[in-house]
């Protein structure tokens, strides 16, 4: 099982005060063998990170092995193209360590289909050359008409190649989104709070991500349901990196969204959840005030989860 870290960026203190602590922990996490960091997109708090891909591009140059995950990416600003571009640039700066988790439709008060189409569009952008996309919510290029086939479609092959700088003032029907990511296909995740997205993601082979705010009982229920739908669709468990984010309290108590206990108790609890749900990645959501428990967790809990 992979082990990652994320942080609460929802306090009243400004980013100038809290981010240095988070950045310092990220550097420590890289050194201590954690496998991923997840930075949640947010806009409501003084230290919220509204541009996680940019934040992680800075991190990419300061770390060597951590997987860098943008979490909670919103879709309501109509920026599927920019999402694809930002992650591809991050992946190049990070030499293949980037990944992207979309916020649930519920959390964004958006149509689930908008999330699904954005995920499809981003995936097409990373893997196809000149293409267009027609959905109910997403169109690319924007003049794509109703006569285009649904979803992504590629430019038909031609015997002629005209270099782009010789196109002149045209608006092509098919465009390539560039750059392409460093890796063939960076991991894509989606929060599975609504049924429509859970079932769509399970069938499409998009990994589930359950954030720390979802109570543990509900999180397990959603992940179990995801696995059932995926199994029924013939999807293998090893196709996706099913990820659960939890607050973990060393020597503390459980609550609705947190797992607590001794190192051994935490390991047992997480492994039990893995057995029930098939998760392959657990992410420890931390407060922004750096704690001394990072080293202890890395040396006591992490090895037993990673083994």
């Amino acid at each position: 099982m992979r082990v990652g870290l994320s942080w609460d960026l929802g306090g009243d203190a400004g980013a100038v005060e809290t981010w240095p602590g988070v950045l310092a922990e990220i550097a420590q996490a890289d050194a201590m063998g954690f496998e991923s960091v997840w930075v949640q997109e947010g806009r409501e708090a003084a230290d919220a990170c509204s541009s996680p891909a940019l934040f992680l591009t800075w991190v990419a140059r300061k770390t060597k092995s951590l997987q860098l995950r943008v979490a909670g990416r919103g879709v309501t600003r109509g920026d599927a193209v920019r999402t694809a571009e930002e992650l591809a640039v991050l992946d190049n700066f990070a030499r293949g360590r980037a990944g992207l988790a979309f916020a649930s439709a519920t959390r964004q008060q958006a149509e689930p289909a908008l999330v699904h189409e954005t995920v499809e569009m981003v995936s097409a952008a990373w893997s196809m050359d000149e293409f267009r996309y027609r959905g109910d919510h997403v169109r690319f290029p924007s003049h794509t008409g109703d006569d285009a086939p649904r979803g992504a479609s590629e430019l038909p092959p031609s015997k002629e190649y005209v270099p782009q700088w010789e196109w002149g003032p045209i608006m092509p029907d098919f465009l390539a989104i560039t750059p392409k990511p460093y890796s063939t296909r960076p991991p894509l995740y989606v929060e599975i709070e609504d049924d429509a997205t859970l079932e769509w993601a399970a069938r499409a082979g998009i990994a589930p991500f359950v954030p720390a705010e979802v109570p543990t009982g509900r999180a397990v229920e959603r992940l179990v349901r995801y696995r059932e739908v995926a199994d029924a669709a013939g999807r293998r468990r090893d196709e996706v990196d099913a990820t659960l984010e939890r607050r973990l309290v060393l020597d503390g108590e459980d609550d609705a969204c947190a797992l607590g206990g001794s190192s051994e108790a935490l390991v047992i609890a997480i492994r039990e959840i893995r057995g029930r749900t098939g998760i392959s990645h657990v992410v420890w959501r931390r407060g922004t005030a750096a704690g001394a428990d990072l080293y202890r967790f890395a040396s006591e809990v992490q090895p037993m989860l990673q083994s």
Partner: protein, 330 residues
């Protein structure tokens, strides 16, 4: 006078095969080199859907530079603001400003390639007006705790920017090409004006127009700042300098600028791949100054006398600029 620069590496140039990620590494290494040599700023441009993987998000590219430098300013030149939701642009700028301890300078342009507007789903014909409005949104967002804005194209009601940047407001320039309209808009709004390459006489006329509109709008004199893209090509002889200019034209301008309708003729029409004898082409080539280091110093002194406080110079001759030109300005 301040000196800003950039480097190739944000995309793959023909004739210079390289892995894109290696190009990114080189681009960062050049930024570190520019900082070492005493340049004041390092810039990242913006283009989308380019066959060569050109970097589409300059602030993100500069985040990588921020991680490996300590004092050089991180400049967009130009970031195509009408292609963004203005608050998203402000958020990205503020994020970088926090990560870099207040080193962000935004050079903001309106863009000109039709496919970029179409691909990103926004209208090209309103780009000029939207650039002015969006700059005002960024200025308000980065200087006020909460703000409202009621424009023709953008409206915000009692919103706040998170994170808050270090600079309040974030340093901004209006990149208006060589048009008088841009100079007027920028002067009226009190934004610093950053001109594109242009022959001296035209530059002087634009600056005069910018100042006139600024004064008439009641903008304080100290807010009427001027910067210029100024491609200077140096050699010990004029022929050598012209050879360097040809490298710039062949390696970058022909493919990245002239083929996409950057030049606009006297009727306001974009000119694509103009023939070499086209007057617009000739004027463009003439704007790329060629001379010995001594002549370059003299030319830049003329610009300084016009009130140009910063020039954005090309990268291939960084060492030479630092050695032979900088001392005359510091």
């Amino acid at each position: 006078m301040k000196f800003w620069t950039t480097s190739i590496g944000t995309g793959k140039l023909r004739g210079m095969p390289s892995a894109l990620a290696n190009g990114y590494d080189s681009w960062i290494a050049d930024a570190k080199d520019a900082e070492r040599l005493g340049f004041d700023g390092y810039g990242a441009p913006e283009h989308h859907f380019m066959y060569d993987g050109f970097m589409p998000f300059p602030l993100q590219a500069l985040a990588a530079v921020a991680a490996e430098t300590t004092k050089i300013r991180l400049m967009t030149g130009a970031m195509l603001l009408p292609l963004y939701d203005p608050m998203a642009a402000a958020e990205a700028a503020a994020t970088l400003d926090v990560l870099s301890n207040g080193r962000v300078t935004l050079g903001l342009g309106m863009g000109y390639r039709p496919m970029e507007f179409d691909g990103l789903g926004t209208a090209k014909k309103t780009r000029g007006a939207r650039l002015s409005e969006a700059m005002e949104v960024v200025r308000l967002a980065s200087s006020e705790k909460r703000f409202s804005y009621e424009g023709k194209h953008y409206q915000y009601s009692d919103v706040a920017l998170h994170p808050e940047p270090v600079q309040k407001p974030i340093d901004m320039w209006f990149c208006g090409g060589t048009s008088l309209l841009g100079a007027r808009r920028s002067g009226q709004a009190g934004f610093g004006y950053w001109l594109a390459n242009s022959p001296y006489e035209h530059t002087a006329a634009i600056i005069e127009e910018y100042r006139r509109f600024g004064r008439e709008a009641g903008v304080p004199e100290e807010k009427l700042r001027i910067a210029a893209f100024k491609d200077v090509c140096m050699g010990e002889t004029i022929e050598e300098a012209q050879g360097m200019r040809q490298v710039l034209i062949d390696g970058f301008y022909e493919e990245h600028i002239l083929g996409y309708g950057y030049l606009v003729d006297e009727n306001g029409e974009h000119v694509y791949n103009p023939p070499k004898n086209h007057p617009m082409y000739q004027r463009f080539v003439d704007s790329l100054y060629c001379g010995t280091p001594e002549m370059v110093v003299e030319e830049l002194k003329r610009y300084e006398a016009l009130g140009v406080e910063a020039v954005f110079v090309p990268s291939p001759q960084r060492e030479l600029l630092a050695e032979r030109v900088f001392p005359e300005f510091r």
